[in-house]
Protein backbone atom coordinates (compact mmCIF):
# COMPACT_ATOMS: atom_id res chain seq x y z
CA UNK A 1 0.00 0.00 0.00
CA UNK A 2 1.44 3.33 -0.98
CA UNK A 3 1.85 6.16 1.47
CA UNK A 4 -1.10 8.38 1.99
CA UNK A 5 -0.15 11.27 -0.27
CA UNK A 6 0.95 8.97 -3.04
CA UNK A 7 -2.28 7.03 -2.72
CA UNK A 8 -4.35 10.16 -3.03
CA UNK A 9 -2.39 11.25 -6.05
CA UNK A 10 -2.84 7.84 -7.62
CA UNK A 11 -6.56 7.87 -7.01
CA UNK A 12 -6.77 11.40 -8.33
CA UNK A 13 -4.91 10.51 -11.51
CA UNK A 14 -7.11 7.52 -12.28
CA UNK A 15 -10.14 9.56 -11.42
CA UNK A 16 -9.20 12.26 -13.88
CA UNK A 17 -8.63 9.68 -16.60
CA UNK A 18 -12.03 8.20 -15.90
CA UNK A 19 -13.64 11.59 -16.47
CA UNK A 20 -12.56 11.64 -20.13
CA UNK A 21 -15.00 11.28 -22.94
CA UNK A 22 -13.98 8.59 -25.42
CA UNK A 23 -15.95 5.80 -27.09
CA UNK A 24 -14.62 3.45 -24.41
CA UNK A 25 -15.74 5.73 -21.62
CA UNK A 26 -19.15 6.07 -23.23
CA UNK A 27 -19.84 2.34 -23.05
CA UNK A 28 -22.34 1.29 -20.40
CA UNK A 29 -20.50 0.46 -17.16
CA UNK A 30 -22.36 -2.84 -16.95
CA UNK A 31 -20.93 -3.89 -20.27
CA UNK A 32 -17.41 -3.11 -19.16
CA UNK A 33 -17.96 -4.92 -15.89
CA UNK A 34 -19.22 -8.03 -17.63
CA UNK A 35 -16.50 -7.95 -20.28
CA UNK A 36 -13.84 -7.58 -17.61
CA UNK A 37 -15.31 -10.49 -15.69
CA UNK A 38 -15.23 -12.61 -18.83
CA UNK A 39 -11.67 -11.55 -19.46
CA UNK A 40 -10.48 -12.43 -15.99
CA UNK A 41 -12.15 -15.82 -16.22
CA UNK A 42 -10.55 -16.48 -19.60
CA UNK A 43 -7.12 -15.64 -18.23
CA UNK A 44 -7.51 -17.54 -15.01
CA UNK A 45 -8.86 -20.65 -16.69
CA UNK A 46 -6.20 -20.94 -19.36
CA UNK A 47 -3.84 -23.87 -18.84
CA UNK A 48 -0.97 -23.02 -16.61
CA UNK A 49 1.97 -23.88 -18.82
CA UNK A 50 0.63 -22.46 -22.02
CA UNK A 51 1.68 -19.02 -21.09
CA UNK A 52 2.27 -18.03 -24.70
CA UNK A 53 -1.43 -18.53 -25.33
CA UNK A 54 -2.13 -15.67 -22.94
CA UNK A 55 -0.55 -13.26 -25.40
CA UNK A 56 -3.62 -12.74 -27.59
CA UNK A 57 -5.71 -11.88 -24.55
CA UNK A 58 -3.52 -8.85 -23.95
CA UNK A 59 -5.39 -7.25 -26.83
CA UNK A 60 -8.33 -6.46 -24.56
CA UNK A 61 -6.63 -4.25 -21.97
CA UNK A 62 -4.21 -2.78 -24.49
CA UNK A 63 -6.96 -1.77 -26.88
CA UNK A 64 -9.16 -0.44 -24.11
CA UNK A 65 -6.34 1.60 -22.64
CA UNK A 66 -5.26 2.93 -26.00
CA UNK A 67 -8.75 3.82 -27.17
CA UNK A 68 -9.58 5.19 -23.72
CA UNK A 69 -6.49 7.46 -23.79
CA UNK A 70 -5.06 6.01 -20.61
CA UNK A 71 -1.27 6.21 -20.47
CA UNK A 72 0.32 2.77 -20.38
CA UNK A 73 3.02 4.13 -18.12
CA UNK A 74 0.57 4.79 -15.32
CA UNK A 75 -0.84 1.29 -15.46
CA UNK A 76 2.62 -0.22 -15.70
CA UNK A 77 3.78 1.58 -12.60
CA UNK A 78 0.75 0.44 -10.61
CA UNK A 79 1.37 -3.11 -11.74
CA UNK A 80 4.97 -3.00 -10.56
CA UNK A 81 3.94 -1.67 -7.18
CA UNK A 82 1.33 -4.36 -6.71
CA UNK A 83 3.33 -7.31 -7.98
CA UNK A 84 5.34 -8.54 -4.94
CA UNK A 85 2.95 -11.14 -3.56
CA UNK A 86 2.29 -12.91 -6.85
CA UNK A 87 5.98 -12.80 -7.72
CA UNK A 88 7.07 -14.01 -4.33
CA UNK A 89 4.79 -16.98 -4.43
CA UNK A 90 5.34 -17.69 -8.11
CA UNK A 91 9.11 -17.68 -7.88
CA UNK A 92 8.97 -20.96 -6.01
CA UNK A 93 7.54 -22.75 -8.98
CA UNK A 94 10.89 -23.16 -10.79
CA UNK A 95 12.28 -24.61 -7.57
CA UNK A 96 9.61 -27.16 -7.03
CA UNK A 97 8.75 -28.18 -10.56
CA UNK A 98 11.90 -29.05 -12.41
CA UNK A 99 10.42 -31.41 -14.91
CA UNK A 100 11.74 -30.55 -18.34
CA UNK A 101 8.76 -30.17 -20.56
CA UNK A 102 10.03 -28.40 -23.63
CA UNK A 103 13.06 -27.55 -25.65
CA UNK A 104 13.25 -24.16 -27.20
CA UNK A 105 16.18 -24.67 -29.49
CA UNK A 106 19.10 -25.44 -27.19
CA UNK A 107 17.17 -24.37 -24.11
CA UNK A 108 15.61 -27.06 -21.89
CA UNK A 109 12.62 -25.51 -20.20
CA UNK A 110 11.12 -26.84 -17.00
CA UNK A 111 7.47 -26.78 -16.10
CA UNK A 112 8.24 -24.56 -13.16
CA UNK A 113 9.67 -21.81 -15.32
CA UNK A 114 6.72 -22.00 -17.65
CA UNK A 115 4.25 -21.74 -14.82
CA UNK A 116 6.23 -18.90 -13.26
CA UNK A 117 6.12 -16.98 -16.52
CA UNK A 118 2.46 -17.82 -16.71
CA UNK A 119 1.85 -16.43 -13.22
CA UNK A 120 3.58 -13.20 -14.19
CA UNK A 121 1.53 -12.94 -17.34
CA UNK A 122 -1.67 -13.71 -15.46
CA UNK A 123 -0.86 -11.09 -12.91
CA UNK A 124 -0.15 -8.42 -15.49
CA UNK A 125 -3.32 -9.24 -17.42
CA UNK A 126 -5.79 -9.50 -14.55
CA UNK A 127 -4.46 -6.59 -12.52
CA UNK A 128 -4.17 -4.58 -15.71
CA UNK A 129 -7.78 -5.35 -16.52
CA UNK A 130 -8.91 -4.09 -13.12
CA UNK A 131 -7.05 -0.83 -13.59
CA UNK A 132 -8.37 -0.56 -17.13
CA UNK A 133 -11.92 -1.01 -15.92
CA UNK A 134 -11.48 1.74 -13.39
CA UNK A 135 -9.67 4.18 -15.65
CA UNK A 136 -12.31 3.86 -18.36
CA UNK A 137 -15.40 3.61 -16.17
CA UNK A 138 -14.68 5.54 -13.00
CA UNK A 139 -15.44 4.49 -9.47
CA UNK A 140 -18.94 5.88 -9.52
CA UNK A 141 -19.59 4.19 -12.85
CA UNK A 142 -18.46 0.88 -11.42
CA UNK A 143 -20.67 1.48 -8.40
CA UNK A 144 -23.78 2.31 -10.36
CA UNK A 145 -23.08 -0.56 -12.74
CA UNK A 146 -22.84 -2.97 -9.82
CA UNK A 147 -26.02 -1.55 -8.39
CA UNK A 148 -27.87 -2.08 -11.64
CA UNK A 149 -26.49 -5.58 -11.92
CA UNK A 150 -28.16 -6.42 -8.64
CA UNK A 151 -25.64 -5.64 -5.90
CA UNK A 152 -27.38 -4.95 -2.58
CA UNK A 153 -28.42 -1.35 -1.97
CA UNK A 154 -26.67 -0.99 1.35
CA UNK A 155 -23.45 -2.12 -0.28
CA UNK A 156 -23.74 0.30 -3.20
CA UNK A 157 -24.67 3.25 -1.00
CA UNK A 158 -21.74 2.73 1.29
CA UNK A 159 -19.46 1.92 -1.67
CA UNK A 160 -20.13 5.42 -2.97
CA UNK A 161 -19.88 7.12 0.42
CA UNK A 162 -16.61 5.33 1.12
CA UNK A 163 -15.09 6.78 -1.98
CA UNK A 164 -16.34 10.28 -1.26
CA UNK A 165 -14.91 10.29 2.25
CA UNK A 166 -11.60 8.72 1.38
CA UNK A 167 -10.62 12.14 0.13
CA UNK A 168 -11.70 13.93 3.26
CA UNK A 169 -10.21 11.42 5.68
CA UNK A 170 -7.00 10.80 3.80
CA UNK A 171 -6.55 14.53 3.80
CA UNK A 172 -7.11 14.72 7.54
CA UNK A 173 -4.78 11.76 8.00
CA UNK A 174 -2.08 13.36 5.92
CA UNK A 175 -2.37 16.54 7.96
CA UNK A 176 -2.11 14.61 11.22
CA UNK A 177 0.97 12.80 9.97
CA UNK A 178 2.56 16.04 8.88
CA UNK A 179 1.78 17.64 12.23
CA UNK A 180 3.33 14.68 13.98
CA UNK A 181 6.42 14.73 11.79
CA UNK A 182 6.94 18.42 12.45
CA UNK A 183 6.99 17.91 16.16
CA UNK A 184 8.87 14.62 16.34
CA UNK A 185 12.59 15.34 16.32
CA UNK A 186 13.59 11.95 14.98
CA UNK A 187 11.41 12.11 11.91
CA UNK A 188 10.63 8.46 12.47
CA UNK A 189 7.08 7.18 12.21
CA UNK A 190 4.93 7.18 15.31
CA UNK A 191 5.28 4.57 18.01
CA UNK A 192 2.29 2.33 18.54
CA UNK A 193 1.03 4.37 21.47
CA UNK A 194 1.32 7.67 19.67
CA UNK A 195 -0.19 6.14 16.60
CA UNK A 196 -3.11 4.97 18.71
CA UNK A 197 -3.96 8.45 19.84
CA UNK A 198 -3.25 10.04 16.48
CA UNK A 199 -5.49 7.58 14.69
CA UNK A 200 -7.88 7.66 17.63
CA UNK A 201 -8.49 11.35 17.13
CA UNK A 202 -9.00 10.75 13.46
CA UNK A 203 -11.43 7.98 14.24
CA UNK A 204 -13.51 10.05 16.63
CA UNK A 205 -13.70 12.83 14.11
CA UNK A 206 -14.60 10.35 11.41
CA UNK A 207 -17.32 8.95 13.61
CA UNK A 208 -18.82 12.35 14.29
CA UNK A 209 -18.56 13.14 10.65
CA UNK A 210 -20.46 9.98 9.85
CA UNK A 211 -23.24 11.17 12.12
CA UNK A 212 -23.24 14.62 10.54
CA UNK A 213 -23.34 13.18 7.05
CA UNK A 214 -26.23 11.10 8.22
CA UNK A 215 -27.99 14.20 9.49
CA UNK A 216 -27.26 16.02 6.25
CA UNK A 217 -28.68 13.17 4.21
CA UNK A 218 -31.80 12.96 6.33
CA UNK A 219 -32.19 16.73 6.07
CA UNK A 220 -32.51 16.33 2.35
CA UNK A 221 -35.05 13.59 2.44
CA UNK A 222 -32.89 10.44 2.46
CA UNK A 223 -35.22 7.52 3.08
CA UNK A 224 -32.80 4.64 2.81
CA UNK A 225 -32.39 4.52 -0.94
CA UNK A 226 -30.07 6.61 -3.02
CA UNK A 227 -31.93 8.24 -5.88
CA UNK A 228 -30.93 6.64 -9.16
CA UNK A 229 -27.47 7.79 -10.02
CA UNK A 230 -26.69 8.70 -13.60
CA UNK A 231 -29.12 6.92 -15.85
CA UNK A 232 -27.43 4.02 -17.60
CA UNK A 233 -28.25 3.25 -21.18
CA UNK A 234 -27.47 -0.11 -22.68
CA UNK A 235 -27.60 0.43 -26.41
CA UNK A 236 -26.95 -1.68 -29.48
CA UNK A 237 -23.31 -0.69 -29.52
CA UNK A 238 -22.96 -1.98 -25.99
CA UNK A 239 -24.43 -5.34 -26.87
CA UNK A 240 -22.20 -5.63 -29.90
CA UNK A 241 -19.14 -4.72 -27.88
CA UNK A 242 -19.90 -7.25 -25.20
CA UNK A 243 -20.61 -10.01 -27.68
CA UNK A 244 -17.43 -9.24 -29.59
CA UNK A 245 -15.38 -9.27 -26.42
CA UNK A 246 -16.77 -12.56 -25.20
CA UNK A 247 -16.34 -14.15 -28.62
CA UNK A 248 -12.76 -12.95 -28.74
CA UNK A 249 -12.02 -14.29 -25.27
CA UNK A 250 -13.40 -17.67 -26.26
CA UNK A 251 -11.32 -17.69 -29.44
CA UNK A 252 -8.19 -16.67 -27.59
CA UNK A 253 -8.80 -19.16 -24.85
CA UNK A 254 -9.49 -22.18 -27.05
CA UNK A 255 -8.07 -21.24 -30.41
CA UNK A 256 -4.35 -21.64 -29.70
CA UNK A 257 -3.70 -18.51 -31.72
CA UNK A 258 -0.09 -18.13 -30.68
CA UNK A 259 0.74 -21.72 -31.53
CA UNK A 260 -0.86 -21.59 -34.92
CA UNK A 261 0.70 -18.29 -35.80
CA UNK A 262 4.05 -19.54 -34.61
CA UNK A 263 3.77 -22.60 -36.79
CA UNK A 264 3.28 -20.40 -39.77
CA UNK A 265 6.35 -18.43 -38.81
CA UNK A 266 8.76 -21.24 -37.99
CA UNK A 267 7.43 -23.59 -40.60
CA UNK A 268 5.54 -26.11 -38.58
CA UNK A 269 8.49 -27.56 -36.73
CA UNK A 270 7.72 -28.12 -33.09
Amino acid sequence: MPRIDAALREIGALDALAAQDTPVHRLDPRVKLLATAGFVLAVASSPLREFAELAPLALFPVAMLAAGRVPFRLVGRSLLLASPFAVMVGVFNPLFDREVVAHWGPLAVTGGWLSFLSILARFALTAGAALTLLATTGYVGVGSGLGRLGAPRALVTQFLLLYRYIFVLADEGARAVRAHALRSASGRPATVRVWGSLAGHLLLRAHDRGLRVHAAMLSRGFDGSMPALRPLRWGRADSVFLAACLAFFALARFGHLAENLGRLAVGGAP
Binding site: R164, R212, V213, G221
Partner: protein
Protein backbone atom coordinates in the same frame (compact mmCIF):
# COMPACT_ATOMS: atom_id res chain seq x y z
CA UNK B 1 -47.63 26.33 6.74
CA UNK B 2 -48.39 29.64 5.20
CA UNK B 3 -46.68 31.38 8.09
CA UNK B 4 -43.12 30.32 8.39
CA UNK B 5 -42.85 30.93 12.05
CA UNK B 6 -40.05 29.20 13.91
CA UNK B 7 -40.63 28.84 17.57
CA UNK B 8 -38.57 27.22 20.32
CA UNK B 9 -39.90 26.82 23.82
CA UNK B 10 -37.65 25.92 26.70
CA UNK B 11 -35.41 23.69 24.64
CA UNK B 12 -33.26 21.33 26.62
CA UNK B 13 -30.78 18.89 25.26
CA UNK B 14 -27.85 16.82 26.52
CA UNK B 15 -25.46 14.73 24.41
CA UNK B 16 -25.13 11.05 25.25
CA UNK B 17 -21.90 11.71 27.14
CA UNK B 18 -23.81 13.98 29.51
CA UNK B 19 -22.79 17.41 28.14
CA UNK B 20 -25.78 19.67 28.66
CA UNK B 21 -25.72 21.73 25.48
CA UNK B 22 -29.11 23.44 25.75
CA UNK B 23 -30.66 24.45 29.05
CA UNK B 24 -33.98 26.01 28.24
CA UNK B 25 -33.65 28.19 25.16
CA UNK B 26 -36.75 30.01 23.90
CA UNK B 27 -37.41 32.37 20.98
CA UNK B 28 -39.91 33.06 18.25
CA UNK B 29 -39.02 34.05 14.73
CA UNK B 30 -41.65 35.52 12.42
CA UNK B 31 -42.21 34.98 8.73
CA UNK B 32 -39.54 36.57 6.54
CA UNK B 33 -37.24 37.59 9.39
CA UNK B 34 -33.46 37.33 9.22
CA UNK B 35 -32.02 36.41 12.58
CA UNK B 36 -28.41 36.09 13.60
CA UNK B 37 -27.39 33.59 16.24
CA UNK B 38 -24.16 34.40 18.03
CA UNK B 39 -22.33 32.96 20.99
CA UNK B 40 -18.95 31.68 22.09
CA UNK B 41 -17.55 28.33 21.00
CA UNK B 42 -19.55 25.63 22.67
CA UNK B 43 -22.44 27.95 23.49
CA UNK B 44 -24.81 25.54 21.77
CA UNK B 45 -25.49 27.25 18.45
CA UNK B 46 -25.01 24.20 16.27
CA UNK B 47 -26.94 22.08 18.70
CA UNK B 48 -29.83 24.53 18.67
CA UNK B 49 -29.92 24.71 14.89
CA UNK B 50 -29.94 20.92 14.61
CA UNK B 51 -33.19 20.95 16.55
CA UNK B 52 -34.87 23.18 14.01
CA UNK B 53 -35.15 20.44 11.41
CA UNK B 54 -35.33 17.53 13.76
CA UNK B 55 -31.79 16.21 13.32
CA UNK B 56 -31.81 16.26 17.09
CA UNK B 57 -34.98 15.91 19.10
CA UNK B 58 -35.20 17.87 22.36
CA UNK B 59 -35.05 16.22 25.75
CA UNK B 60 -37.36 18.93 27.07
CA UNK B 61 -39.42 21.72 25.53
CA UNK B 62 -40.45 21.83 21.90
CA UNK B 63 -39.81 23.31 18.48
CA UNK B 64 -42.61 24.41 16.17
CA UNK B 65 -42.32 25.22 12.52
CA UNK B 66 -45.46 27.11 11.57
CA UNK B 67 -48.08 25.22 13.48
CA UNK B 68 -46.34 21.87 13.25
CA UNK B 69 -44.44 20.60 16.27
CA UNK B 70 -41.16 18.88 15.35
CA UNK B 71 -41.59 15.28 16.34
CA UNK B 72 -40.57 11.95 14.87
CA UNK B 73 -43.90 11.81 13.03
CA UNK B 74 -43.55 15.19 11.33
CA UNK B 75 -39.89 14.93 10.33
CA UNK B 76 -40.49 14.55 6.62
CA UNK B 77 -42.79 17.57 6.51
CA UNK B 78 -40.49 19.70 8.63
CA UNK B 79 -37.41 18.85 6.62
CA UNK B 80 -39.13 19.85 3.43
CA UNK B 81 -39.77 23.34 4.73
CA UNK B 82 -36.54 23.87 6.67
CA UNK B 83 -33.37 23.86 4.58
CA UNK B 84 -30.17 23.30 6.50
CA UNK B 85 -26.72 24.42 5.42
CA UNK B 86 -24.15 22.60 7.54
CA UNK B 87 -21.09 24.10 9.13
CA UNK B 88 -18.71 21.91 7.10
CA UNK B 89 -19.80 21.61 3.46
CA UNK B 90 -17.89 18.31 3.30
CA UNK B 91 -20.59 16.78 5.46
CA UNK B 92 -23.23 17.89 3.07
CA UNK B 93 -21.71 17.18 -0.31
CA UNK B 94 -21.80 13.43 -0.27
CA UNK B 95 -22.74 12.66 -3.85
CA UNK B 96 -20.20 11.95 -6.58
CA UNK B 97 -20.66 15.22 -8.47
CA UNK B 98 -22.05 18.64 -7.64
CA UNK B 99 -24.95 18.18 -10.05
CA UNK B 100 -25.92 14.86 -8.53
CA UNK B 101 -25.57 16.32 -5.09
CA UNK B 102 -27.91 19.21 -5.85
CA UNK B 103 -30.34 16.73 -7.38
CA UNK B 104 -30.29 14.54 -4.28
CA UNK B 105 -32.96 16.45 -2.36
CA UNK B 106 -35.45 16.97 -5.21
CA UNK B 107 -35.01 13.35 -6.32
CA UNK B 108 -35.83 12.20 -2.81
CA UNK B 109 -38.98 14.29 -2.97
CA UNK B 110 -40.08 12.05 -5.85
CA UNK B 111 -40.31 14.96 -8.27
CA UNK B 112 -40.45 14.14 -11.97
CA UNK B 113 -37.16 14.17 -13.88
CA UNK B 114 -37.65 17.49 -15.71
CA UNK B 115 -38.60 19.23 -12.50
CA UNK B 116 -35.49 17.90 -10.77
CA UNK B 117 -33.40 19.07 -13.68
CA UNK B 118 -35.01 22.51 -13.64
CA UNK B 119 -34.40 22.94 -9.93
CA UNK B 120 -30.80 21.83 -10.22
CA UNK B 121 -30.19 24.35 -12.96
CA UNK B 122 -31.96 27.17 -11.17
CA UNK B 123 -30.33 26.69 -7.81
CA UNK B 124 -26.87 26.31 -9.33
CA UNK B 125 -27.47 29.52 -11.23
CA UNK B 126 -28.69 31.24 -8.09
CA UNK B 127 -25.37 30.61 -6.37
CA UNK B 128 -23.34 31.19 -9.52
CA UNK B 129 -22.05 27.63 -9.74
CA UNK B 130 -23.38 26.29 -13.04
CA UNK B 131 -19.85 25.60 -14.19
CA UNK B 132 -19.22 23.28 -11.24
CA UNK B 133 -22.01 20.95 -12.14
CA UNK B 134 -19.92 18.01 -13.37
CA UNK B 135 -17.12 18.42 -10.85
CA UNK B 136 -16.66 16.07 -7.92
CA UNK B 137 -17.08 17.92 -4.61
CA UNK B 138 -13.66 16.96 -3.26
CA UNK B 139 -11.98 18.92 -6.02
CA UNK B 140 -13.63 22.22 -5.14
CA UNK B 141 -12.27 25.15 -3.17
CA UNK B 142 -13.86 26.08 0.13
CA UNK B 143 -16.01 28.82 -1.38
CA UNK B 144 -17.13 26.63 -4.25
CA UNK B 145 -18.05 23.88 -1.81
CA UNK B 146 -20.11 26.32 0.20
CA UNK B 147 -21.92 27.54 -2.90
CA UNK B 148 -22.65 23.97 -3.98
CA UNK B 149 -23.95 23.09 -0.52
CA UNK B 150 -26.28 26.07 -0.54
CA UNK B 151 -27.51 25.17 -4.00
CA UNK B 152 -28.33 21.67 -2.72
CA UNK B 153 -30.52 23.20 -0.05
CA UNK B 154 -32.15 25.77 -2.34
CA UNK B 155 -33.12 23.02 -4.76
CA UNK B 156 -35.57 21.73 -2.20
CA UNK B 157 -37.20 25.20 -2.17
CA UNK B 158 -37.46 25.45 1.58
CA UNK B 159 -39.42 28.19 3.37
CA UNK B 160 -36.83 28.60 6.10
CA UNK B 161 -33.07 28.64 5.60
CA UNK B 162 -30.94 27.58 8.54
CA UNK B 163 -27.21 28.18 8.18
CA UNK B 164 -24.39 27.24 10.49
CA UNK B 165 -21.37 29.50 10.01
CA UNK B 166 -21.81 29.98 6.28
CA UNK B 167 -18.86 32.35 5.99
CA UNK B 168 -16.24 30.34 7.90
CA UNK B 169 -13.17 29.53 5.87
CA UNK B 170 -14.00 31.88 3.01
CA UNK B 171 -11.63 34.49 1.67
CA UNK B 172 -12.87 38.11 1.71
CA UNK B 173 -14.12 38.05 -1.85
CA UNK B 174 -16.01 34.78 -1.51
CA UNK B 175 -17.40 36.06 1.75
CA UNK B 176 -18.69 39.22 0.07
CA UNK B 177 -20.23 37.16 -2.69
CA UNK B 178 -21.94 34.95 -0.13
CA UNK B 179 -23.33 37.90 1.79
CA UNK B 180 -24.69 39.39 -1.40
CA UNK B 181 -26.24 36.06 -2.27
CA UNK B 182 -27.89 35.58 1.11
CA UNK B 183 -29.15 39.15 1.18
CA UNK B 184 -31.04 38.39 -2.01
CA UNK B 185 -33.03 35.50 -0.53
CA UNK B 186 -36.50 36.29 0.73
CA UNK B 187 -36.64 33.19 2.91
CA UNK B 188 -36.92 33.29 6.65
CA UNK B 189 -33.26 33.05 7.64
CA UNK B 190 -31.48 31.92 10.76
CA UNK B 191 -27.72 32.34 10.58
CA UNK B 192 -25.32 31.19 13.27
CA UNK B 193 -21.92 32.84 12.96
CA UNK B 194 -18.85 34.24 14.64
CA UNK B 195 -18.63 36.71 11.80
CA UNK B 196 -20.36 39.62 13.52
CA UNK B 197 -19.90 41.92 10.54
CA UNK B 198 -21.85 39.55 8.39
CA UNK B 199 -24.59 39.36 10.99
CA UNK B 200 -24.69 43.10 11.10
CA UNK B 201 -25.19 43.27 7.36
CA UNK B 202 -27.65 40.42 6.97
CA UNK B 203 -29.70 40.25 10.11
CA UNK B 204 -31.75 43.06 11.63
CA UNK B 205 -32.27 40.89 14.70
CA UNK B 206 -29.79 38.89 16.79
CA UNK B 207 -30.07 36.22 19.44
CA UNK B 208 -27.13 35.77 21.78
CA UNK B 209 -26.69 32.29 23.17
CA UNK B 210 -24.70 31.67 26.32
CA UNK B 211 -24.24 28.29 27.94
CA UNK B 212 -27.32 26.84 26.36
CA UNK B 213 -29.64 29.71 27.17
CA UNK B 214 -30.76 32.84 25.32
CA UNK B 215 -28.78 35.63 26.96
CA UNK B 216 -30.17 38.44 24.81
CA UNK B 217 -32.57 38.83 21.91
CA UNK B 218 -33.19 42.09 20.06
CA UNK B 219 -32.16 44.46 17.28
CA UNK B 220 -28.66 43.73 16.04
CA UNK B 221 -27.46 47.31 16.05
CA UNK B 222 -27.91 47.84 19.76
CA UNK B 223 -26.77 44.41 20.79
CA UNK B 224 -23.49 44.30 18.93
CA UNK B 225 -22.66 47.69 20.42
CA UNK B 226 -23.18 46.42 23.96
CA UNK B 227 -19.60 45.72 25.03
CA UNK B 228 -20.54 44.48 28.46
CA UNK B 229 -23.00 41.93 27.10
CA UNK B 230 -20.58 40.65 24.48
CA UNK B 231 -17.80 40.42 27.05
CA UNK B 232 -20.02 38.45 29.41
CA UNK B 233 -20.98 36.01 26.66
CA UNK B 234 -17.40 35.50 25.57
CA UNK B 235 -17.63 37.38 22.30
Amino acid sequence: MSHHIVEARNLEFAYPDGTAALRGASFRIEHGESVGLVGANGAGKSTLLLHLNGCLLPAGGEVRIGDVPVTRATLAQVRRSVGFVFQDPNDQLFMPTVGEDVAFGPANMQLPGEEVERRVRESLTAVGAEHLRARPPYRLSGGEKRAAAIAGVLAMSPDVLVMDEPSSGLDPRSRRRLIGLLAGFRHTKIVAAHDLDMIRELCPRTIVLHEGRVAADGPTAGMLGDRELLERCGL
